[in-house]
Symmetry: C2
Subunit: 413 residues, 2 copies
């Protein structure tokens, strides 16, 4: 060998499970970036096998591969393949949020037991590298709270509604642009966001969180006029996931939520994702970027492959269970359709006061039998608010069921 | 040993060079977080030696340590100590932007030669984990451009000026709040931001960039009335660092720059830092958080220590030199003090047109001998703009030297 000849290390073999939109984009991107990755890491990544419904043999792919990349989606057989790969001592990368939010502990436990890496950046917030940041940068920092816009479809719909579209129009536009599926229920019900928040909460707080532990609510029932009233209070509506330490426990939820314009997530519009991480040490950092398209997801998956190649990231730490807290404090927006009679506001505020619900701002629009009373409360324990609203709903001057939406108070300066 | 007794691995020994604000905060934070870090990584970090002007011996500290953390600042002896540590096979962490922006290649080369890690998250953007994201998540993505607000002091001053303060008032307020030094020249001249952009450009594009390669301009000469006019165009002023691929070359600069309100950096106010990374694959991601205080910087340094403990991050790749490009395209804001006579606007636009400067918006305020002509151009090559403005400055109706400020066009939707 001449002294100038480069020394070629063995290629880094990737076994690819799934070849849909993300899988195909991943294979293409890997080929485009192979030179650059080799220059940085000494080894060249190559795809050594592909498994689809119709081709490939899992055992052969597994035997050949240095790493298994799973982009099939769904629970089975993805779960079974990942477990078998880790048991065979292989590092794995997955983009599968359903699987991680429902079988995360089993996967983490298996990774720990076999001392392999389990990477899943693409499962959470599109191209926004929040998994990496939580795992590595912030391991030196105790996290107090995470707020996230982790579903691009609903953020797109809410942005359109803010500009005056109805829910149905906005959903149709999202479908036309390819941001929403023909059956959008996983997105608009909040369930997709809840799965991602379960994964983020597991990472940030080191405690097992199952999708079923996440309280969530979608955006299907939102009224355009709530968005209009909210503007008068300087509020914008987002579907916000929250994971926070409360009284030594942990609360994880996804709700349509009003934000003041100063909040770092208030400016995130269209199909973007963003996550804000708060901690006493760092105050708060915000990461934002486009929600997942095929190529963006593929880029996050490839980033995970590269981090395994560079030896970064450890098998997950054992869990530290925290109690799950359900009854948390929040400020609320209240929308009441009332008959416009003397004493209505007094009756309402009296009942609210009896349940410790104190009012920050109120707008009353009197139009005979069709008046509206819209208010924002100070933070209150959710169960108190619910009881108070239930009692308010019993007044004979009420014209429809009261509507409530959470509000995040202005905290940032 | 009873079967329940935990197996204690050897502690991970940190040799700390420097014990000023950041050093002291680092030592405190390390102690607070040692349990949690041990739980995740198996080894407990401890400070095995501290070097200050008056105590400690470098050779002893080096011999004892598993890693050297440099938070002394300044070029020497920090440079000498880091080189010696790496030559002794030790991984190093530094928060020293002066050193990295002026002797980066020597440090990278030494790290590569001795196969050790050189980490410097704290040197760039406060708590914003942009170094990690560029190194790891984005190694799978070819980066086209980075825009950054990487100096919290100047962002605070510009935010105050936007709210009506003069430069002097805003600077005094920044000093009162501890955001600006008694001698603020490194910040307000743009030099601090230029050093950080040199480091970011090196990382993002893999090409050696020295502080001297970065064209920069500060904020001292800005006029309050430029900010006022800019508001009429929907523009806000920031000190923006830019590193971008242009025609197979690289341009790195720091300039006061007007942004449209839709730009992801437009909403970053006060002493915050933020960086936007653009690439064809990921569109664009934005990371933001507080600029560096002692505890925030310490948190970034500790994050680097943890990433070395976990085996993440590789020695830097060899550089890929790109030609440095100086004459780039930009839109510009132009401010002209003119005598209010017929034909002034025609004369000005004729000269601009002869140099391919085309006008996007214009505001004229006539007040006799004291009129103003304020305009925003379409993107134009900088040298053409300069020549055109020089010729405009020669007209006898000009009342003072024309002022120009760069403008980033609205690109994001």
């Amino acid at each position: 060998m001449s002294p100038e000849a480069p020394i070629h290390e063995a290629p880094f073999k990737v076994g690819l499970l799934g070849f849909g939109t993300v899988g195909a984009a991943f294979a293409e991107l890997l080929q485009e970036r192979a030179d650059e990755i080799e220059r940085f890491n000494g080894r060249r990544p190559v795809i050594s096998g592909v498994l689809t419904r119709t081709r490939g043999d899992f055992e052969e792919i597994l035997a050949e591969a240095d790493i298994i990349v799973e982009v099939m989606g769904g629970i089975e057989p993805a779960r079974e393949y990942l477990l078998r790969a880790m048991r065979a001592g292989k590092d794995v990368v997955s983009a599968n949020k359903q699987l991680l939010s429902q079988h995360g502990e089993e996967l983490f436990e298996t990774a720990r037991e076999h001392d392999v890496r389990l990477r899943f950046e693409a499962a959470v917030a599109g191209t926004v590298p929040v998994v990496r940041v939580l795992e590595e940068s912030l391991s030196a920092t105790p996290i107090d709270r995470i707020h996230g816009i982790v579903n691009g479809t609903t953020n797109f719909i809410l942005t359109e509604m803010t500009h005056g579209s109805s829910y149905a129009e906005a959903l149709a536009e999202a479908q036309r642009k390819g941001y929403a599926e023909a059956d959008p229920s996983d997105d608009v019900s909040g369930r997709d966001a809840a799965a991602k928040m379960a994964i983020l909460a597991r990472l940030a707080f080191g405690t097992p969180v199952h999708l079923d532990d996440v309280r969530y609510e979608g955006i299907e029932h939102l009224h355009g006029d709530d968005l209009e009233y909210a503007r008068e209070f300087g509020l914008g509506l987002k579907l916000i996931g929250t994971a926070e330490r409360i009284d030594g426990g942990l609360s994880v939820s996804v709700y349509p939520t009003f934000l003041y314009s100063g909040h770092p997530l208030a400016a995130i519009s269209g199909s973007f994702n963003a996550v804000t991480v708060e901690s006493e040490t760092i105050t708060e950092i915000t990461l934002s970027g486009p929600g997942a398209g095929g190529r963006q997801t593929a880029s996050a998956v490839l980033g995970d492959v590269v981090s395994v190649m560079t030896g970064g990231a450890r098998p997950p730490a054992p869990p530290l269970p925290l109690r799950l807290v359900e009854d948390v404090q929040s400020a609320f927006y209240l929308h009441l359709d009332v008959a416009d009679r003397p004493g209505v506001l007094a009756s309402v505020t009296k009942v609210l006061g009896e349940h410790d619900v104190s009012i920050k701002s109120v707008v009353q629009r009197g139009m005979g039998e069709n008046a509206r009373l819209v208010m924002v409360t100070h933070p209150v324990v959710e169960s108190s608010l619910r009881t108070a609203v239930e009692r308010v709903g019993e007044f004979d001057f009420m014209r429809s069921t009261p509507r409530t939406i959470r509000v995040i108070e202005e905290e940032f300066v």
